[in-house]
Symmetry: C2
Protein backbone atom coordinates (compact mmCIF):
# COMPACT_ATOMS: atom_id res chain seq x y z
CA UNK A 1 0.00 0.00 0.00
CA UNK A 2 1.25 3.48 -0.79
CA UNK A 3 1.45 5.99 2.06
CA UNK A 4 -1.73 7.57 0.72
CA UNK A 5 -3.53 4.24 0.88
CA UNK A 6 -3.48 2.96 -2.70
CA UNK A 7 -2.76 -0.63 -3.75
CA UNK A 8 -3.04 0.26 -7.45
CA UNK A 9 -2.45 3.46 -9.36
CA UNK A 10 -4.85 5.14 -11.77
CA UNK A 11 -5.86 3.75 -15.19
CA UNK A 12 -5.21 0.02 -14.72
CA UNK A 13 -5.07 -1.88 -18.01
CA UNK A 14 -4.11 -5.34 -19.25
CA UNK A 15 -0.63 -3.98 -19.97
CA UNK A 16 -0.37 -2.20 -16.65
CA UNK A 17 -2.66 -4.15 -14.31
CA UNK A 18 -1.62 -2.19 -11.24
CA UNK A 19 -2.19 1.17 -12.90
CA UNK A 20 0.22 4.05 -13.24
CA UNK A 21 2.92 3.72 -10.58
CA UNK A 22 1.28 0.67 -9.05
CA UNK A 23 3.96 -1.80 -10.07
CA UNK A 24 6.45 0.09 -7.92
CA UNK A 25 4.49 -0.98 -4.83
CA UNK A 26 5.80 -4.53 -5.32
CA UNK A 27 9.44 -3.76 -6.00
CA UNK A 28 10.48 -4.52 -2.41
CA UNK A 29 9.08 -8.03 -2.85
CA UNK A 30 10.93 -8.72 -6.09
CA UNK A 31 14.19 -7.77 -4.39
CA UNK A 32 13.92 -10.44 -1.66
CA UNK A 33 16.13 -13.53 -2.02
CA UNK A 34 13.32 -15.91 -1.02
CA UNK A 35 10.86 -14.52 -3.53
CA UNK A 36 13.50 -14.56 -6.27
CA UNK A 37 14.42 -18.19 -5.56
CA UNK A 38 10.73 -19.13 -5.70
CA UNK A 39 10.57 -17.54 -9.14
CA UNK A 40 13.79 -19.13 -10.42
CA UNK A 41 15.83 -15.93 -10.04
CA UNK A 42 19.18 -15.51 -8.36
CA UNK A 43 20.40 -12.93 -5.85
CA UNK A 44 18.32 -10.64 -3.70
CA UNK A 45 18.41 -9.48 -0.13
CA UNK A 46 18.06 -11.62 2.97
CA UNK A 47 17.25 -10.62 6.55
CA UNK A 48 14.21 -10.05 8.77
CA UNK A 49 12.09 -8.91 5.86
CA UNK A 50 12.73 -12.03 3.82
CA UNK A 51 12.08 -14.17 6.91
CA UNK A 52 8.73 -12.46 7.41
CA UNK A 53 7.78 -13.28 3.82
CA UNK A 54 8.94 -16.88 4.20
CA UNK A 55 7.04 -17.32 7.47
CA UNK A 56 3.81 -16.02 5.96
CA UNK A 57 4.30 -17.92 2.74
CA UNK A 58 4.89 -21.26 4.48
CA UNK A 59 1.89 -20.86 6.82
CA UNK A 60 -0.58 -20.30 3.99
CA UNK A 61 -2.34 -23.45 2.74
CA UNK A 62 -5.01 -21.89 0.52
CA UNK A 63 -5.55 -18.54 -1.17
CA UNK A 64 -8.62 -16.46 -2.01
CA UNK A 65 -8.50 -13.81 -4.74
CA UNK A 66 -10.85 -11.73 -6.84
CA UNK A 67 -11.62 -12.43 -10.47
CA UNK A 68 -9.63 -9.46 -11.73
CA UNK A 69 -6.55 -10.68 -9.91
CA UNK A 70 -6.91 -14.02 -11.68
CA UNK A 71 -7.26 -12.77 -15.24
CA UNK A 72 -7.39 -8.98 -15.28
CA UNK A 73 -10.84 -9.22 -16.82
CA UNK A 74 -14.46 -9.08 -15.76
CA UNK A 75 -17.82 -10.29 -17.07
CA UNK A 76 -18.46 -13.62 -18.85
CA UNK A 77 -15.37 -15.79 -19.43
CA UNK A 78 -16.00 -15.95 -23.19
CA UNK A 79 -14.98 -12.31 -23.59
CA UNK A 80 -11.91 -12.50 -21.33
CA UNK A 81 -8.59 -12.54 -23.27
CA UNK A 82 -6.89 -14.16 -20.25
CA UNK A 83 -9.66 -16.57 -19.37
CA UNK A 84 -7.02 -19.19 -18.49
CA UNK A 85 -5.49 -16.80 -15.98
CA UNK A 86 -2.55 -14.53 -16.59
CA UNK A 87 -0.19 -16.33 -14.25
CA UNK A 88 1.49 -18.40 -16.97
CA UNK A 89 2.25 -22.14 -16.86
CA UNK A 90 3.67 -21.96 -13.36
CA UNK A 91 1.41 -19.81 -11.21
CA UNK A 92 3.49 -18.90 -8.15
CA UNK A 93 0.97 -20.32 -5.66
CA UNK A 94 1.50 -24.11 -5.69
CA UNK A 95 -1.67 -24.61 -3.64
CA UNK A 96 -5.46 -24.34 -3.98
CA UNK A 97 -6.62 -20.87 -5.04
CA UNK A 98 -10.28 -19.87 -4.81
CA UNK A 99 -11.36 -17.17 -7.26
CA UNK A 100 -14.43 -15.04 -6.44
CA UNK A 101 -16.50 -14.52 -9.59
CA UNK A 102 -20.09 -14.11 -10.75
CA UNK A 103 -19.44 -16.48 -13.64
CA UNK A 104 -19.28 -20.23 -12.91
CA UNK A 105 -16.73 -22.48 -14.62
CA UNK A 106 -14.75 -25.68 -14.09
CA UNK A 107 -11.55 -25.60 -12.00
CA UNK A 108 -8.16 -25.22 -13.71
CA UNK A 109 -5.12 -27.20 -12.51
CA UNK A 110 -1.40 -26.77 -13.11
CA UNK A 111 1.41 -29.30 -12.79
CA UNK A 112 3.11 -27.29 -10.03
CA UNK A 113 0.24 -27.85 -7.60
CA UNK A 114 -1.71 -24.67 -8.26
CA UNK A 115 -5.45 -25.18 -8.74
CA UNK A 116 -7.91 -22.40 -9.43
CA UNK A 117 -11.45 -23.10 -8.24
CA UNK A 118 -14.17 -20.60 -9.13
CA UNK A 119 -16.63 -19.64 -6.42
CA UNK A 120 -19.85 -17.78 -7.24
CA UNK A 121 -21.24 -17.52 -3.70
CA UNK A 122 -19.25 -14.43 -2.71
CA UNK A 123 -16.17 -13.77 -0.62
CA UNK A 124 -17.60 -15.53 2.45
CA UNK A 125 -18.20 -18.73 0.48
CA UNK A 126 -14.70 -18.60 -1.05
CA UNK A 127 -13.15 -18.15 2.39
CA UNK A 128 -15.17 -21.12 3.71
CA UNK A 129 -14.06 -23.31 0.79
CA UNK A 130 -10.45 -22.24 1.31
CA UNK A 131 -10.64 -22.87 5.07
CA UNK A 132 -11.96 -26.38 4.41
CA UNK A 133 -8.87 -27.34 2.39
CA UNK A 134 -6.43 -25.31 4.54
CA UNK A 135 -7.25 -27.34 7.67
CA UNK A 136 -5.01 -26.05 10.46
CA UNK A 137 -3.17 -23.84 7.96
CA UNK A 138 -3.74 -20.21 7.14
CA UNK A 139 -6.01 -18.90 4.38
CA UNK A 140 -4.30 -16.08 2.52
CA UNK A 141 -6.40 -13.25 1.16
CA UNK A 142 -4.44 -12.10 -1.86
CA UNK A 143 -6.66 -9.26 -3.12
CA UNK A 144 -7.74 -7.17 -4.84
CA UNK A 145 -8.93 -4.34 -2.70
CA UNK A 146 -12.63 -5.10 -3.13
CA UNK A 147 -12.27 -8.68 -1.92
CA UNK A 148 -10.25 -7.55 1.09
CA UNK A 149 -12.77 -4.80 1.90
CA UNK A 150 -15.60 -7.31 1.75
CA UNK A 151 -13.81 -9.79 3.98
CA UNK A 152 -13.02 -7.03 6.48
CA UNK A 153 -16.62 -5.82 6.41
CA UNK A 154 -17.86 -9.36 7.08
CA UNK A 155 -15.49 -9.70 10.06
CA UNK A 156 -13.74 -12.58 8.33
CA UNK A 157 -10.15 -11.32 8.72
CA UNK A 158 -8.01 -12.35 11.74
CA UNK A 159 -4.81 -10.67 10.68
CA UNK A 160 -3.99 -7.82 8.35
CA UNK A 161 -0.45 -7.27 7.12
CA UNK A 162 0.13 -3.99 5.35
CA UNK A 163 3.29 -3.45 3.33
CA UNK A 164 3.52 0.32 3.47
CA UNK A 165 5.66 1.73 0.65
CA UNK A 166 7.12 5.27 1.00
CA UNK A 167 5.45 6.70 -2.06
CA UNK A 168 2.43 8.86 -2.83
CA UNK A 169 0.40 7.70 -5.84
CA UNK A 170 -2.20 10.49 -5.67
CA UNK A 171 -4.90 8.41 -7.37
CA UNK A 172 -5.93 4.82 -7.85
CA UNK A 173 -7.59 2.04 -5.89
CA UNK A 174 -7.56 2.40 -2.12
CA UNK A 175 -7.08 -0.71 0.00
CA UNK A 176 -9.20 0.47 2.93
CA UNK A 177 -12.30 2.14 1.61
CA UNK A 178 -15.78 1.76 2.99
CA UNK A 179 -14.75 -0.65 5.73
CA UNK A 180 -16.83 -0.25 8.92
CA UNK A 181 -15.15 1.44 11.92
CA UNK A 182 -13.25 -0.82 14.33
CA UNK A 183 -10.10 -1.10 16.38
CA UNK A 184 -7.10 -3.34 15.65
CA UNK A 185 -4.08 -4.46 17.65
CA UNK A 186 -0.58 -3.91 16.33
CA UNK A 187 1.21 -7.24 16.27
CA UNK A 188 4.60 -6.28 14.88
CA UNK A 189 6.55 -3.88 12.71
CA UNK A 190 9.47 -4.71 10.40
CA UNK A 191 10.93 -1.77 8.50
CA UNK A 192 13.46 -1.38 5.71
CA UNK A 193 14.17 1.55 3.41
CA UNK A 194 11.83 0.16 0.79
CA UNK A 195 8.82 -0.82 2.89
CA UNK A 196 7.36 -0.97 6.39
CA UNK A 197 5.53 -4.20 7.21
CA UNK A 198 2.76 -3.59 9.73
CA UNK A 199 0.93 -6.61 11.11
CA UNK A 200 -2.39 -6.16 12.93
CA UNK A 201 -4.68 -8.57 14.75
CA UNK A 202 -8.42 -8.06 14.37
CA UNK A 203 -9.63 -10.52 16.99
CA UNK B 1 -3.90 9.14 11.11
CA UNK B 2 -6.12 6.09 11.20
CA UNK B 3 -4.99 3.00 9.30
CA UNK B 4 -7.51 3.91 6.60
CA UNK B 5 -5.98 7.36 6.25
CA UNK B 6 -8.30 9.63 8.20
CA UNK B 7 -7.21 12.43 10.54
CA UNK B 8 -10.81 13.24 11.49
CA UNK B 9 -13.96 11.15 11.59
CA UNK B 10 -17.29 11.98 9.93
CA UNK B 11 -19.62 14.82 10.99
CA UNK B 12 -17.18 17.20 12.69
CA UNK B 13 -18.91 19.83 14.83
CA UNK B 14 -17.99 22.47 17.40
CA UNK B 15 -18.69 19.88 20.14
CA UNK B 16 -16.78 17.15 18.34
CA UNK B 17 -14.22 18.98 16.17
CA UNK B 18 -12.47 15.78 15.10
CA UNK B 19 -15.71 14.10 14.08
CA UNK B 20 -17.05 10.74 15.18
CA UNK B 21 -14.18 8.62 16.50
CA UNK B 22 -11.61 11.27 15.60
CA UNK B 23 -10.70 12.20 19.17
CA UNK B 24 -9.42 8.64 19.68
CA UNK B 25 -6.64 9.35 17.18
CA UNK B 26 -4.97 11.61 19.78
CA UNK B 27 -5.30 9.38 22.83
CA UNK B 28 -1.71 8.13 22.53
CA UNK B 29 -0.52 11.74 22.81
CA UNK B 30 -2.54 12.51 25.93
CA UNK B 31 -1.02 9.47 27.63
CA UNK B 32 2.58 10.68 27.26
CA UNK B 33 4.28 12.08 30.38
CA UNK B 34 5.83 15.01 28.52
CA UNK B 35 2.58 16.10 26.94
CA UNK B 36 0.78 15.79 30.28
CA UNK B 37 3.41 17.86 32.09
CA UNK B 38 3.12 20.53 29.38
CA UNK B 39 -0.60 20.67 30.07
CA UNK B 40 -0.29 20.71 33.87
CA UNK B 41 -1.25 17.04 34.26
CA UNK B 42 0.56 14.36 36.24
CA UNK B 43 1.54 10.82 35.33
CA UNK B 44 1.77 9.32 31.87
CA UNK B 45 4.19 7.06 30.07
CA UNK B 46 7.83 7.77 29.30
CA UNK B 47 10.16 6.09 26.80
CA UNK B 48 11.18 6.41 23.15
CA UNK B 49 7.77 7.67 22.13
CA UNK B 50 7.79 10.51 24.63
CA UNK B 51 11.35 11.36 23.62
CA UNK B 52 10.30 11.59 19.99
CA UNK B 53 7.54 14.04 20.93
CA UNK B 54 9.93 16.06 23.08
CA UNK B 55 12.57 16.19 20.32
CA UNK B 56 10.04 17.41 17.75
CA UNK B 57 8.42 19.83 20.15
CA UNK B 58 11.72 21.45 21.18
CA UNK B 59 12.93 21.83 17.57
CA UNK B 60 9.83 23.71 16.44
CA UNK B 61 10.10 27.52 16.61
CA UNK B 62 6.93 28.52 14.71
CA UNK B 63 3.71 26.81 13.71
CA UNK B 64 1.37 27.07 10.72
CA UNK B 65 -2.25 25.95 10.95
CA UNK B 66 -5.52 26.34 9.07
CA UNK B 67 -8.33 28.62 10.15
CA UNK B 68 -10.55 25.75 11.24
CA UNK B 69 -7.84 24.44 13.53
CA UNK B 70 -7.66 27.87 15.15
CA UNK B 71 -11.36 28.39 15.87
CA UNK B 72 -13.38 25.51 14.40
CA UNK B 73 -15.15 28.03 12.21
CA UNK B 74 -15.01 29.40 8.68
CA UNK B 75 -16.09 32.54 6.85
CA UNK B 76 -15.98 36.12 8.24
CA UNK B 77 -14.79 36.43 11.86
CA UNK B 78 -17.97 38.25 12.91
CA UNK B 79 -19.98 35.05 12.59
CA UNK B 80 -17.45 32.80 14.32
CA UNK B 81 -18.44 31.83 17.90
CA UNK B 82 -14.77 31.10 18.70
CA UNK B 83 -13.29 34.09 16.89
CA UNK B 84 -10.75 34.41 19.73
CA UNK B 85 -9.60 30.86 19.11
CA UNK B 86 -10.74 27.81 21.01
CA UNK B 87 -7.44 27.12 22.68
CA UNK B 88 -8.34 28.86 25.97
CA UNK B 89 -6.19 31.32 27.91
CA UNK B 90 -3.08 29.19 27.62
CA UNK B 91 -2.81 27.91 24.07
CA UNK B 92 -0.34 25.01 24.25
CA UNK B 93 2.04 26.49 21.65
CA UNK B 94 4.05 29.15 23.49
CA UNK B 95 5.46 30.41 20.19
CA UNK B 96 4.37 32.28 17.04
CA UNK B 97 1.47 30.60 15.24
CA UNK B 98 0.49 31.62 11.69
CA UNK B 99 -3.14 30.97 10.80
CA UNK B 100 -4.10 30.61 7.12
CA UNK B 101 -7.39 32.42 6.47
CA UNK B 102 -9.22 34.37 3.78
CA UNK B 103 -10.30 36.95 6.36
CA UNK B 104 -7.71 39.50 7.57
CA UNK B 105 -7.54 40.56 11.22
CA UNK B 106 -5.09 41.83 13.83
CA UNK B 107 -2.80 39.35 15.63
CA UNK B 108 -3.82 37.93 19.03
CA UNK B 109 -1.26 37.47 21.83
CA UNK B 110 -1.29 35.41 25.02
CA UNK B 111 0.78 35.83 28.18
CA UNK B 112 2.35 32.37 27.76
CA UNK B 113 4.15 33.40 24.59
CA UNK B 114 1.62 32.18 22.05
CA UNK B 115 0.82 34.68 19.29
CA UNK B 116 -1.64 34.05 16.48
CA UNK B 117 -0.92 35.98 13.29
CA UNK B 118 -3.44 35.78 10.46
CA UNK B 119 -2.10 35.30 6.93
CA UNK B 120 -4.33 35.81 3.90
CA UNK B 121 -1.76 35.01 1.21
CA UNK B 122 -2.18 31.23 1.35
CA UNK B 123 -0.20 28.37 2.84
CA UNK B 124 3.02 29.35 1.06
CA UNK B 125 2.92 32.86 2.51
CA UNK B 126 2.19 31.53 6.01
CA UNK B 127 5.13 29.12 5.74
CA UNK B 128 7.40 31.97 4.61
CA UNK B 129 6.30 34.17 7.53
CA UNK B 130 6.82 31.29 9.95
CA UNK B 131 10.27 30.51 8.50
CA UNK B 132 11.29 34.15 8.94
CA UNK B 133 10.64 34.04 12.68
CA UNK B 134 11.83 30.42 13.13
CA UNK B 135 15.33 31.28 11.94
CA UNK B 136 17.42 28.09 12.23
CA UNK B 137 14.52 26.34 13.96
CA UNK B 138 11.85 24.11 12.48
CA UNK B 139 8.47 25.28 11.21
CA UNK B 140 5.76 22.90 12.38
CA UNK B 141 2.78 22.29 10.12
CA UNK B 142 0.01 21.50 12.58
CA UNK B 143 -2.92 20.90 10.19
CA UNK B 144 -5.65 20.47 9.20
CA UNK B 145 -5.52 18.09 6.31
CA UNK B 146 -6.15 20.75 3.67
CA UNK B 147 -3.21 22.90 4.77
CA UNK B 148 -0.92 19.87 4.84
CA UNK B 149 -2.10 18.75 1.39
CA UNK B 150 -1.46 22.20 -0.01
CA UNK B 151 2.02 22.39 1.51
CA UNK B 152 2.84 18.91 0.15
CA UNK B 153 1.50 19.86 -3.28
CA UNK B 154 3.68 22.99 -3.30
CA UNK B 155 6.76 20.94 -2.40
CA UNK B 156 7.12 22.91 0.83
CA UNK B 157 7.44 19.94 3.21
CA UNK B 158 10.86 18.52 4.18
CA UNK B 159 9.68 15.96 6.67
CA UNK B 160 6.41 14.19 7.24
CA UNK B 161 5.73 12.41 10.51
CA UNK B 162 2.67 10.22 10.51
CA UNK B 163 1.28 8.90 13.78
CA UNK B 164 -0.52 5.80 12.54
CA UNK B 165 -3.22 4.64 14.95
CA UNK B 166 -4.50 1.03 14.73
CA UNK B 167 -8.11 1.89 14.06
CA UNK B 168 -10.39 2.06 11.03
CA UNK B 169 -12.69 5.10 10.98
CA UNK B 170 -14.46 4.23 7.73
CA UNK B 171 -15.29 7.85 6.90
CA UNK B 172 -14.03 11.35 7.57
CA UNK B 173 -11.25 13.62 6.38
CA UNK B 174 -8.27 11.95 4.75
CA UNK B 175 -4.80 13.33 5.42
CA UNK B 176 -3.32 12.44 2.03
CA UNK B 177 -5.86 13.22 -0.63
CA UNK B 178 -5.14 14.82 -3.97
CA UNK B 179 -1.40 15.13 -3.34
CA UNK B 180 0.68 14.73 -6.52
CA UNK B 181 2.64 11.46 -6.94
CA UNK B 182 6.16 11.36 -5.51
CA UNK B 183 8.59 9.20 -3.56
CA UNK B 184 9.67 9.64 0.06
CA UNK B 185 12.46 8.22 2.19
CA UNK B 186 11.70 6.46 5.45
CA UNK B 187 13.69 8.15 8.20
CA UNK B 188 12.65 6.18 11.26
CA UNK B 189 9.93 4.11 12.88
CA UNK B 190 8.94 4.09 16.56
CA UNK B 191 6.09 1.75 17.48
CA UNK B 192 4.02 1.19 20.59
CA UNK B 193 0.70 -0.63 21.04
CA UNK B 194 -1.20 2.62 20.64
CA UNK B 195 0.51 4.16 17.63
CA UNK B 196 3.27 3.75 15.04
CA UNK B 197 5.30 6.90 14.36
CA UNK B 198 6.61 6.93 10.79
CA UNK B 199 8.99 9.71 9.82
CA UNK B 200 9.69 10.41 6.14
CA UNK B 201 12.05 12.78 4.35
CA UNK B 202 10.79 14.45 1.20
CA UNK B 203 14.04 16.02 0.05
Amino acid sequence: MSLDGYVAGPSPSLDEPLGRGGQGLHEWLRSLAGWRAQHGLEGGTTGPEDELREEASSAVRAVVMGRRMFSGGSGPWEGDPNAGGWWGDEPPFRLPVFVVTHHPREPVSFANGTTFTFVTGGVGAALADAAAVAGEGVVGLAGGAEVIQQALSEGAVDRLRIHLVPVLLGQGTRLLDGVPPRGLQLDGVVASDAVTHLTYRLT
